[in-house]
């Protein structure tokens, strides 16, 4: 409310001087640029031939796409030679229609290179395994278990690949795009006579709301 009244008198003033107001108000929209020429990327491509598929930069964050077969080798190089000793995050993205379907994403940090960070990406086909990096960074252990649990990407060579957030015996992988957001019937309903299959109030309940 307070904001609306404050904005109201400001509007005509802006219209009076459009050229002046428009110039600083529009910050450039971030866009991805090619980063293959960066020293780090060039060094990685030279040290591990065939590892770098592409590299781009967006909002001053570098993303290097790595061939899955060279992933562990590339990670070892970045950790041992380029001092990326800290794996900040490991996750995955499901691009349902694309082939390969998944991106496994690594976010690396180097204390010695002035807190520089770099993102690695490896495309993984549906059903295919991704090599584990838990030998390189111990912290990848749980993160890979989480990706396995929520996306169903198996990690080859992982020491303890079990579900972590959902329970053992759960069917499906919730963060896949084809997993329904309202959930699935896990067979865990304890009052089947009272709550019909699919959950929620019965069809004749006046409190029942339907979502289109």
């Amino acid at each position: 409310m307070a904001e609306d009244t404050k904005d109201a008198p400001a509007a005509p003033a802006k219209a009076a001087a459009p050229a002046k107001a428009a110039a600083p108000a529009k910050p450039p929209v971030p866009a991805a640029t090619d980063a293959t020429g960066e020293p780090l990327v060039a060094a990685l491509a030279a040290a591990v031939p065939g590892a770098v598929v592409s590299a781009k930069k967006m909002v001053s964050q570098t993303t290097i796409e790595i061939a899955p077969g060279k992933l562990v080798e590339a990670c070892r190089h970045l950790k041992d030679k380029e001092t990326f000793t800290f794996l900040v995050d490991l996750t995955a993205v499901d691009w349902k229609e694309r082939d390969p379907r998944f991106d496994v994403v690594y976010w690396l940090h180097s204390f010695d290179r002035g807190n520089e960070r770099v993102r690695l990406k490896a495309g993984v086909k549906d059903g295919a395994a991704c090599p584990t990096v838990s030998e390189v960074w111990e912290t990848a252990n749980w993160m890979e278990r989480e990706v396995f649990d929520l996306f169903g990407i198996p990690f080859e060579g992982h020491p303890d690949l079990r579900r972590i957030l959902t329970w053992d015996g759960f069917q499906g992988h919730p963060l896949r795009k084809d997993f329904p957001v309202e959930g699935i019937d896990t067979g865990a309903a304890i009052y089947p006579d009272r709550y019909p299959e699919g959950g929620g109030p019965p069809p004749d309940d006046k409190n029942r709301k339907t979502v289109s």
Binding site: E3, P27, D89, N115, I164, L175
Partner: protein
């Protein structure tokens, strides 16, 4: 409870075997007052000594990251409150930062200062809650009454500012929703100035307390190398001697303009992590006082930048993080150009720090496990998401 017959050799790395006859498997939790939520730890013990500790998590999993994908960008903010529910402001902050980064937005100076004020108040309240519960776990009930006295004032201030005490929902993409209420800064300043002597009171209760020292010194050691290997950030990393804090390492908002130190210690044990958190309380107090001065000197100004009506970041990806009370809290956003996040991943410090628990607990007594869970400072809402 099941018993596993073991051999004396199974406990070789924890010193001499205690009984050496049989190992017992013991469930710690999921319902246990000192797990601060629903955390189950499967222990293998030899007498009183822990041979292995295996955390079993997921009891609070609510599929938050799945929900993010169905909500528009502004609708995501209240969901982030429920991750680390004792530090909602920092969760909001990390999320709006990543969206702003992908949009290329500039935040007005005044909004930056108010955000920092909310963050630091949240850090104080989170550390106070940690101090209260960690001390109770070790049998010291009194600090609880002292710290909750101050935490109550902070929650009252939050309530006056945004109407909520815990799930604040206080930040917006591009700035803030609400201007500070009249007289709020004066109340905050009065509280902050007083806080120094209050922190002295907590220290009087614990810092030289012989029982507290006996229970914490040398317990749960995690050196810098091991912290980095496990990805542990926040107070545990700083207690191992590395002065690394996102507020300085990868600065955001107006932190570069503020004068504060990163407290560190050397011994990397539970006692040092306590001292680091106490020192952080004092540094947060310092930051708050500087922000109060700035906000009093600049009483008016924009609190929300030029934000499009429908927030649609360009297709691409970005990561942004803040120093939450627990460590590095980051959000990784993948946008496909639509008005909902295509993928929004939380980098939860509690989840990642908890992974180091087996290593910290090995060889200690079962009663020390309580101290170690307390010292990592986890919130299960964030661990399980």
């Amino acid at each position: 409870m099941s018993e596993v017959v073991g051999t004396a050799g199974a406990v070789e790395d924890s010193g001499h075997p205690m009984l050496g006859l049989r190992e017992m498997e013991l469930n710690f939790g999921p319902q246990h007052p000192s797990t601060h939520g629903v955390l189950r730890i499967v222990l293998k013990v030899d007498g009183e000594r822990i041979v292995s500790a295996r955390p079993d998590i997921g009891y609070l999993h609510r599929g938050t990251e799945k929900l993010f994908e169905t909500e528009t960008y502004p609708m995501v903010i209240p969901h982030t409150d429920r991750l680390d529910y004792v530090a909602a402001a920092t969760n909001n902050h990390a999320y709006v930062l990543v969206v702003e980064k992908l949009l290329g937005l500039e935040i007005p100076k005044r909004a930056q200062y108010i955000r920092v004020v909310l963050d630091e108040m949240q850090r104080i309240s989170s550390h106070l809650l940690w101090l209260a519960t960690a001390a109770i776990d070790l049998g010291a009930i009194t600090p609880f009454f002292y710290t909750f006295r101050e935490r109550e004032v902070i929650l009252d201030l939050f309530e006056e500012y945004c109407g909520a005490r815990l799930t604040l929902n206080c930040m917006r993409v591009g700035g803030l929703e609400e201007e500070l209420t009249p007289g709020w800064i004066e109340k905050l300043r009065a509280f902050t100035e007083d806080l120094g002597s209050k922190i002295d009171e907590y220290e009087e209760l614990l810092t030289e307390n012989r029982i507290w020292k006996d229970r914490t010194i040398g317990v749960g050691i995690l050196t810098t190398d091991r912290c980095i290997a496990w990805g542990v950030t926040g107070p545990p990393l700083r207690a191992s001697g590395l002065a690394w804090d996102i507020r300085r390492a990868i600065p955001y908002e107006c932190y570069p303009a503020l004068d504060f130190e990163i407290p560190t210690r050397k011994n990397a044990d539970t006692y040092d992590r306590y001292l680091v958190r106490i020192a952080e309380l004092r540094q947060s107090r310092r930051i708050l006082l500087q922000c109060c001065d700035w906000l009093t000197a600049n009483p008016t100004g924009e609190i929300r930048g030029k934000v499009p009506r429908v927030i649609k970041p360009p297709a691409g990806e970005a990561y942004a993080s803040v120093e939450s009370p627990k460590g590095e809290l980051g959000f990784y956003l993948v946008s496909n150009g639509g008005n909902r996040p295509y993928r929004l991943r939380v980098r939860p410090p509690s989840f990642i720090n908890l992974q180091a628990l087996p290593e910290m607990a090995r060889g200690h007594m079962v009663s020390d496990l309580v101290a170690i869970i307390g010292t990592i400072d986890i919130v299960l809402g964030e661990v399980d998401r």
